[in-house]
C-alpha cells in the first residue's frame, strides 16, 4: 500500500527511539513504540527502524518487550541479518526465572520466520518441552510444529515425535491439545497424528477437563479412530452423549459429526442423534449472530436432504423477518421449500406469498421461484397463487411467474390448462429478456389453447426492430413457426413479415441464420417442418431427475460441520477444483477416446452378461415397458432394498450405458445428460414372475463411485442378488473401458 509521507514518519520515529531522554522515560519510550506498531498495522513499512527496535527489546518492561517482539515477528523475514542480533536477548529471556517471560521469548523466537533461525531455537524448544511451567510447555509444543514447517519438507525428527506423543499424557489439558495439533502438522506427509486405542480412550477421558475449543478439536481428531468392536463403539458413544448438550454450538456439532461417522452402520442411531441436535440447531438458526444463523441454516438444509420430515413441525422458525439480511432470507426460503409437507403446505405457501410482494425485487423473485419449486408436488395450490400474483401487474413479479410457469408446464403437464388461462395480459408487464423468452415459448408451444396468442406474438413482431435481446428474437422465430403449424390462418402473414425482417434487416448473424433456416425448412414442405418443430410439449420424467431423492446420511456425514455445507456442494466442488489445479498443475483432460463404433462390450464379457440371466434364476423379460409416471409412483412407494457403490472413473456416456443396459434387458426411464453433475439415471426391469426392479444410479461430482440404489416390488434376496450382479457387470464393464 503506497503511503505518502511514510519516510518522514519513519525518520521522526527513528529519532525519537534514539533519543536518550525518551529512552530513560519508560512511559514515553513505550508510547513511541506503540506508534510504530500502529503505523505497522495501517500498512506503513516500518522496517526502517528495525535496529532501534532490537535495542528496545533489552528492557525489563514486559509490555515494551511484547510490543517489540510483535514488531520483530512481522519484519524479521525482511531483515534476517538484523533479526539475528535480537536472538541473543531472546535466548537470555528463555532462561528467565519468570515463566511468562520464558514463554513469551520462546513463542516469539519460534515465530521469527526467517531462514537460519532453526539452529538457535532447537535447544530452547527442547528445554521448553521439559519446563515445569505448563505455560512454557504449551508454547514449546507448538514451537516444534513451527520449527518443522520452517525446515520446509525436511524429514521428521523421530525423537521429537516420540517426545510429543509422550506429552499427550501431560497434566495440562492445553498442552495435550497442542501436542495433537503439533503432531498433526509434523506428520502431515504420513497422514497426520495416529489415534490408536489407548490414545483415543485417554483423550475421551480427558475431554471433560478441556475447554470448549479443546473439546471441539479433540472431537475432530477422534474422527479418524475406528473402534474395534461394536461394544467399544457404543461405549464411546455413551461417553460422548453429554457433549451433544454442550452450550457451545461448535462442540455440539463436532460431537454430532463424530456420532454420525462412528455410527455409520447404524442408521437408527444416526437419526436419533439428528433428533437430539435439532434443538441446538434451531436455537442457532434464530441466534442473534447472523453469521451463526447462516451456518446453522446451511446445515439444516443438509439434514433435510436426508430426512425430509425432520424440521417440518418447526416450519415457523424459518419464517423470515423484515430486518434480516438478504442471504439469510434466501436460505430460509430454500429451507421452507424443502420441509414442505401435507400438513404445513398451506401455511408455508401463505408465508411465501407474503414474500412475493417484498420491497426487494430480488427477494420477491426468489419467493416466486420457491413457490414454483413447491408446485412440482402441490401443483394446483401453487398455480392458483402464482396466477393471483399476476394480478398485481408488477414487472419483476410477472416475469418471475411466467418463467416459473414455463418450467412447470414442462414438468407437470397437468397444469397446462390453468397456465394457459392465466397468461393473457401478461405481456404488458414484461420487459426483461428472460421473461419475454419464457412468455414467447409458452405462446408458441401452447398457443392452440390461448385465444389471443397470435395477437400477442404479432405485437412482438411489430416491435422487433427495437428489440434489444437477440435471444428474444430467436425465441420469437421458433414460437411463430410453431404457432403457424397449429393456427396457420392467423399466423401466415406475420410469419412472413418476421422472416423477411430477420433475413433482410437483422444484423445479428445468429438470428439471421435461424431465420434463413426456417425459411428453407418451410420450402422443404410442411411435413418436414412438423417433424422438426413438433417435439414433445412436456417431459415429466425430468422431474425424477430434478427431484431431490433422499440421500443417505452417510453421503454427507463427512462434510458435516465443515465449510462444505456453508458454501454449498456445487460451489465447494469448483473451489476445491481450483485449489487442486493450483497444487498439482493443470490436470489433463480425459482424452482416452471411448470407442463409439465397434463392439460395446468386449466379446468375453458379453458372453458372461448373456449367460448370467440364465444361471442366476433371474430372467429379465426383454420388452418390458414402464411409463415415467408409473415408475415415479412405484419408486416413491417402495423402500430401498439394496445400496452399493461401484468404482467408476471419468464422465458417463449415457448412450453407451443405455445400449449396454438394453442388452441385458434393463430399460432406461430417465437419464441426465452427459457431463451433468451430479449425474443420475433411473432404470427399471422386470423378471418373468412380474417382479419389478427399480434402480437409481448416482454419480456425485467428487466421488469416484457409482452409487446404486435398487428397489424391488416384491422381496426376494436371491433374485435381488442376481439382478445386482447383472448391473455390476454392465457398470463394471463400462467403468473398465474408461480406466
Amino acid at each position: 500500500m503506497p503511503y505518502l509521507g511514510s519516510e518522514d514518519v519513519v525518520k521522526e520515529l527513528k529519532k525519537a527511539l534514539c533519543n536518550p531522554h525518551i529512552q530513560a522515560d519508560r512511559l514515553r519510550y513505550r508510547s513511541v513504540i506503540q506508534r510504530v506498531i500502529r503505523h505497522m498495522t495501517q500498512g506503513v513499512d516500518m522496517s526502517g527502524v528495525f535496529m532501534e527496535m532490537v535495542k528496545a527489546s533489552a528492557t525489563v518492561d514486559i509490555v515494551q518487550k511484547k510490543l517489540v517482539y510483535l514488531y520483530m515477528c512481522t519484519y524479521a523475514p525482511l531483515k534476517p541479518d538484523l533479526a539475528l542480533l535480537a536472538i541473543n536477548t531472546l535466548c537470555k529471556d528463555c532462561s528467565d526465572p519468570n515463566p511468562m517471560v520464558r514463554g513469551l521469548a520462546l513463542r516469539s523466537m519460534c515465530s521469527l520466520r526467517m531462514p537460519g533461525v532453526q539452529e538457535y531455537i532447537q535447544q530452547p524448544i527442547l528445554n521448553g518441552l521439559r519446563d515445569k511451567a505448563s505455560y512454557v510447555r504449551r508454547v514449546a509444543v507448538l514451537g516444534c510444529a513451527k520449527m518443522h514447517n520452517l525446515h520446509g519438507d525436511s524429514e521428521v525428527d523421530g525423537a521429537l515425535v516420540n517426545e510429543l506423543y509422550s506429552l499427550l499424557r501431560d497434566q495440562d489439558p492445553i498442552v495435550v491439545v497442542n501436542c495433537l495439533r503439533s503432531l498433526e502438522e509434523i506428520l502431515k506427509q504420513e497422514g497426520g497424528v495416529v489415534i490408536n486405542k489407548p490414545i483415543a480412550h485417554h483423550l475421551l477421558n480427558r475431554m471433560s477437563k478441556l475447554d470448549q475449543w479443546g473439546q471441539a478439536e479433540v472431537l475432530n481428531f477422534l474422527l479418524r479412530y475406528q473402534p474395534r468392536s461394536e461394544e467399544e463403539l457404543f461405549d464411546i458413544l455413551n461417553l460422548l452423549d453429554s457433549f451433544l448438550k454442550s452450550s457451545s454450538p461448535g462442540v455440539v456439532m463436532g460431537a454430532t459429526k463424530l456420532f454420525l461417522i462412528l455410527a455409520r452402520k447404524f442408521p437408527h442411531v444416526q437419526t436419533d442423534v439428528l433428533m437430539q441436535v435439532k434443538g441446538p440447531l434451531l436455537a442457532a438458526c434464530s441466534s442473534e449472530s447472523r453469521e451463526l444463523c447462516f451456518a446453522a441454516l446451511c446445515h439444516v438444509r443438509q439434514i433435510l436432504r436426508s430426512l425430509p420430515g425432520h424440521f417440518s413441525g418447526h416450519y415457523k422458525k424459518f419464517f423470515c423477518s423484515y430486518s434480516e439480511p438478504h442471504y439469510i432470507k434466501l436460505q430460509k426460503v430454500e429451507v421452507l421449500c424443502e420441509l414442505v409437507n401435507d400438513e404445513n403446505v398451506q401455511q408455508v405457501l401463505e408465508e411465501l406469498r407474503g414474500y412475493c410482494t417484498d420491497v426487494s425485487a430480488d427477494f420477491a423473485q426468489a419467493a416466486v421461484f420457491a413457490i414454483g419449486g413447491i408446485a412440482r408436488t402441490y401443483t394446483d395450490q401453487c398455480v392458483q397463487i402464482l396466477t393471483e400474483l399476476l394480478g398485481l401487474r408488477q414487472e419483476h413479479i410477472t416475469t418471475a411467474v411466467v418463467q416459473t410457469f414455463r418450467d412447470l408446464v414442462w414438468l407437470c403437464p397437468q397444469c397446462t390448462e390453468a397456465v394457459c388461462q392465466a397468461l393473457p395480459g401478461c405481456e404488458e408487464n414484461i420487459q426483461d429478456s428472460e421473461g419475454k423468452q419464457a412468455l414467447i415459448w409458452l405462446l408458441g408451444v401452447h398457443g392452440k389453447r390461448i385465444p389471443n396468442a397470435p395477437y400477442v406474438l404479432e405485437d412482438f413482431i411489430e416491435n422487433v426492430k427495437s428489440e434489444t435481446f437477440p435471444a428474444v428474437k430467436m425465441e420469437l422465430l421458433t414460437a411463430v413457426q410453431r404457432l403457424f403449424l397449429s393456427r396457420p390462418a392467423e399466423c401466415q402473414d406475420m410469419l412472413g413479415r418476421l422472416l423477411h425482417y430477420c433475413i433482410e434487416e437483422e444484423k445479428d448473424m445468429a438470428v439471421r441464420d435461424r431465420g434463413l433456416f426456417y425459411y428453407r425448412l418451410l420450402l422443404a414442405g410442411i411435413n418436414e417442418v412438423k417433424q422438426i418443430l413438433c417435439s414433445p410439449k412436456s417431459d415429466p420424467s425430468l422431474r425424477l431427475l430434478e427431484d431431490q431423492a433422499e440421500r443417505p446420511v452417510n453421503s454427507w456425514a463427512l462434510d458435516f460441520n465443515t465449510l462444505v455445507p456453508v458454501y454449498g456442494k456445487a460451489r465447494w466442488a469448483t473451489i476445491s477444483k481450483c485449489q487442486g489445479v493450483e497444487h498439482h498443475g493443470p490436470e489433463l483432460p480425459n482424452t482416452t477416446a471411448f470407442p463409439t463404433s465397434g463392439p460395446l462390450i468386449p466379446e468375453e464379457n458379453k458372453e458372461r452378461v448373456q449367460e448370467l440371466p440364465d444361471s442366476g434364476a433371474l430372467m429379465l423379460i426383454p420388452n418390458h415397458q414402464l411409463t415415467a409416471e408409473c415408475f415415479e409412483k412405484t419408486w416413491l412407494s417402495l423402500k430401498v432394498a439394496h445400496q452399493q457403490a461401484f468404482p467408476w472413473q471419468g464422465a458417463v456416456h449415457p448412450d453407451n450405458l443405455q445400449m449396454a443396459l438394453q442388452v441385458v434387458n434393463i430399460q432406461t426411464i430417465a437419464m441426465s445428460r452427459a457431463g451433468t453433475k451430479p449425474w443420475k439415471a433411473y432404470l427399471s426391469a422386470q423378471d418373468d414372475t412380474g417382479r419389478l426392479f427399480l434402480t437409481e444410479l448416482l454419480l456425485e461430482p467428487a466421488n469416484v463411485q457409482m452409487q446404486i440404489s435398487v428397489k424391488q416390488s416384491e422381496a426376494g434376496t436371491e433374485t435381488l442378488k442376481s439382478f445386482i450382479s447383472v448391473l455390476e457387470t454392465v457398470i463394471g464393464t463400462l467403468g473398465d473401458i474408461k480406466s
Partner: protein
C-alpha cells in the same frame, strides 16, 4: 487453525492485523477481503468467502469486521463462535468494543491476541486465565465516575434514580482495578430477551419467539460463589408444571458450563462461581403460546385515494404492558413504496417523532406507558402515481409487527 486475524473498521481500514502463520503471501489480505465483501453479488452470502485457497470468515460486531482467514476446511461453528468470543473478550478488556476503543488500545489488543492464539490455534479464551498474562492497561476515554448519571443506561434504559447503576458502570474494562484502588464488588445481571413476533394482516398471530439470556458481568474477586434464585414456578418443557399458578414456562434451557445445577431441580437455584468479565449464565427459548399477552398491538388502517395520490395510514398502537412498567425507545418502521415524496403527520403527543428515511416511515416513541394507546395519522404523497399504480403491492397487503430486543435491566 487460523492463518490471519484482522479487525477492520466499517469503512475497511485495518485496525488490527495479525499474521499467525506467515502464509499470507503479502500484506494485502485485509484489503482483498474488503474488496471481495463490497463487490459481492447480492444473492451470495458474505459470511464465508474464498480467494484462491484461502477462506475468509467474518462476523460483524458493533460496526467492526472481525475476520479470520484459514486454508483448512474447518468447522464454521467453532470459528464463528471463536470470533464472537474474541469480540466479547475485547469488550471485556477495553471496556466496550468500537472503532475508537480498539485504536486507542492497539497494544492491549495485540497482547490479548498473542495469548489467545498461538500459531493460529486457540490457547485459552477465559477472561480469568488471561488476566494473569495481560500487562497493558486499557485506555478508557472517560474516567469512570459514579456521579455521571446523565447519559443513557444499559441497553437503552434511562437512568433517573440513584438506585439505578450509572450508565457506564458495566462498560468498563475488567482490568482497570489495578490502578483504581476503590475496587467495587459489583455484579451486573441483565436479563435480555429478544422477542420476535409475526402478526398476519388479519391480526392473527403467526409466530412468537422469545429468546432470553441471563448475562452476568462480574467484577467480584474470582472464586466467590454466587447463587441466583429463579422463581419457583419456573418450569421447562410443556409437560412439566409447578406450583398452582400458570407458572413461567420455557421450552428449552441451556446453562453455562460453570453453573452447578444441584439445587436447580428442587429449589430453582443456580449456583456458580463466576469468573470476572462477561458470562452468559443461562439461555432459554420459548416459542408459540406465550403465557402473557403481547406487549404491543398495532391496529392499522390504510386508505388510498386514487385521485389525489394520497395514501392515508392510520396507525393505532396499544401497549399491553402492565401500567407500572413502560416501554422505551419504541420505533415503528413502515416500508413505503419507492415513489413517496412527502409526508404529513398528526401525532397524538408532542414528544413523538415521525420522519421519512430510506424509503420507509419511521415513527419514534421515546416512551410508552403500559395500558396506553397512541395513534398517528400520516398522509403520504406519491410522485409517480399518474404514471403507474406502484403502490398496489406494498403496505396494505400485510403489516408486520416486529419488536426486537426488549430488555430488562435488573440490578442486584
Amino acid at each position: 487453525m487460523i492463518s490471519q486475524f484482522f479487525i477492520l473498521s466499517s469503512k475497511g481500514d485495518p485496525l488490527i492485523y495479525k499474521d499467525f502463520r506467515g502464509d499470507s503471501g503479502g500484506r494485502d489480505v485485509a484489503e482483498l477481503f474488503y474488496r471481495k465483501l463490497t463487490g459481492l453479488p447480492g444473492d451470495e452470502s458474505p459470511v464465508v468467502m474464498h480467494h484462491d485457497d484461502r477462506h475468509f470468515i467474518h462476523i460483524r460486531h458493533s460496526g467492526l469486521y472481525l475476520v479470520a482467514t484459514t486454508s483448512e476446511n474447518i468447522s464454521p461453528f467453532s470459528l464463528l463462535e471463536l470470533l464472537s468470543r474474541l469480540a466479547t473478550l475485547l469488550g471485556d478488556y477495553c471496556g466496550s468494543l468500537g472503532e475508537a476503543t480498539i485504536s486507542r488500545n492497539v497494544a492491549l489488543v495485540y497482547e490479548l491476541l498473542d495469548e489467545v492464539l498461538d500459531y493460529g490455534y486457540v490457547q485459552t479464551t477465559s477472561t480469568e486465565v488471561l488476566r494473569n498474562f495481560i500487562q497493558t492497561e486499557a485506555v478508557v476515554s472517560k474516567p469512570f465516575s459514579l456521579f455521571d448519571l446523565s447519559s443513557v443506561g444499559l441497553f437503552g434504559a434511562e437512568t433517573q434514580q440513584s438506585k439505578v447503576a450509572p450508565s457506564s458502570a458495566a462498560s468498563r474494562p475488567v482490568l482497570s482495578s489495578r490502578s483504581d484502588q476503590s475496587q467495587k464488588n459489583e455484579v451486573f445481571l441483565d436479563v435480555v430477551e429478544r422477542l420476535s413476533v409475526l402478526i398476519a394482516s388479519n391480526g392473527s398471530l403467526l409466530k412468537v419467539d422469545v429468546q432470553g439470556e441471563i448475562r452476568l458481568k462480574s467484577f467480584l474477586p474470582s472464586g466467590s460463589e454466587m447463587r441466583i434464585g429463579l422463581t419457583e414456578e419456573f418450569c421447562v418443557g410443556k409437560s412439566e408444571l409447578r406450583g398452582y399458578g400458570p407458572g413461567i414456562r420455557v421450552d428449552e434451557v441451556s446453562f453455562h458450563s460453570s453453573v452447578y445445577l444441584d439445587e436447580f431441580e428442587s429449589h430453582r437455584i443456580l449456583r456458580l462461581q463466576p469468573p470476572q468479565g462477561e458470562l452468559t449464565v443461562m439461555r432459554y427459548q420459548l416459542s408459540d403460546d406465550l403465557p402473557s399477552p403481547l406487549p404491543f398491538r398495532l391496529f392499522p388502517s390504510v386508505q388510498w385515494d386514487r385521485g389525489s395520490g394520497r395514501l392515508q395510514v392510520y396507525l393505532k398502537l396499544r401497549c399491553d404492558l402492565p401500567p407500572k412498567s413502560q416501554a422505551l425507545n419504541v420505533r415503528l418502521h413502515l416500508p413505503l413504496p419507492r415513489g413517496v415524496v412527502s409526508l404529513s403527520q398528526e401525532l397524538s403527543s408532542p414528544e413523538q417523532k415521525a420522519e421519512l428515511a430510506e424509503g420507509a416511515l419511521r415513527w419514534d416513541l421515546p416512551r410508552v406507558q403500559g395500558g396506553s394507546q397512541l395513534s398517528g395519522l400520516f398522509q403520504v404523497r406519491f410522485l409517480r402515481l399518474a404514471f403507474r399504480p406502484c403502490g398496489s403491492a406494498s403496505p396494505h397487503k400485510w403489516v408486520r409487527h416486529l419488536s426486537h430486543s426488549d430488555a430488562y435491566v435488573i440490578r442486584i
